[in-house]
Subunit: 192 residues, 2 copies
Amino acid sequence: MNTLEKMILDKALVLDGGILKVDMFLNHQIDPHLIMSMGKDFHEHFKNREITKVLTVEASGIPIALATALEFDVPVVFAKKGRNKNVGPDVYTSQVYSYTKGEPYEINIFKKYLTADDKVLFIDDFLANGAAAKGILDIVGQAGATLMGVGIAIEKGFQDGGALLRGMGIDLYSLAIIEAMEPGKITLREHE
Amino acid sequence: MNTLEKMILDKALVLDGGILKVDMFLNHQIDPHLIMSMGKDFHEHFKNREITKVLTVEASGIPIALATALEFDVPVVFAKKGRNKNVGPDVYTSQVYSYTKGEPYEINIFKKYLTADDKVLFIDDFLANGAAAKGILDIVGQAGATLMGVGIAIEKGFQDGGALLRGMGIDLYSLAIIEAMEPGKITLREHE
């Protein structure tokens, strides 16, 4: 059991409506040692792949991506959510549907920071339906870059994103996979 | 001259309209070694102060706050910008005026992650007019917490934020202070 899995079982809360609260250590308050350990865990899994860039989406993916990029000694590029006015010919854009908000948003990456030479590791905090991952895959494709793998902190194993990405042959590595959850009880999938 | 100052002189661009572009290493693409060195530099300055929490604002303050929190061995809490629907009695809120966008936005911190016992170091990537810092000061005040210092990556020394915070007696430490800039030329203030 890795550090994140222990932290989930110790501290995470499940609210009514299927909401997993991990904002005491992951996405509002952040435990820096946990984050650094996650970077090491992702490196351990993907270290035999050539990686030139770690991609993520703002905001809570950024610290995990930073910790991972430090291990690989490569830059992070984080996609900005559609609030900047810089969208134009210099920017790759994709639409992401937010199930939480019930509407789409844009993610943007400046073209100069993602090229056809790049071998990309996409890191994010959550994988549920895979909406953000699909947007990143779209942008990686637009750039002609190569996706080398996807590293996720917490995968909701009872939603479709994991099967979708694994079905595409993508090397998806999730540090913790929630098999089932209800208020007071979280069941993690065992590692193979 | 610290690592950030060297990077600014080597790589930053000044666009027409007084825009400083550092998105090749700080706020879109991120150089992880630079970020870690900034954490060490902030720790060196503030290490004699008791710090229980590093506060920042999403998104580009997060990696710098993480690197700093790691040195102090304390958690990061990042204020969320007013897009979540969680605002209510459990949340501290403040209005921040965005000069870039010409309109205010909200920043929010869950009350349980900032208490009257906290001794706060606020870390951010930019200081210009001090709008975000004022919002954080407001929230720190609402919580009854104590502000121990403010660490800024890049202060625009020709704008009012620095004088405002120093005039309040706040220990403000900026890794790089831009004295003047025009396309092709950036002048940094020398350290005292």
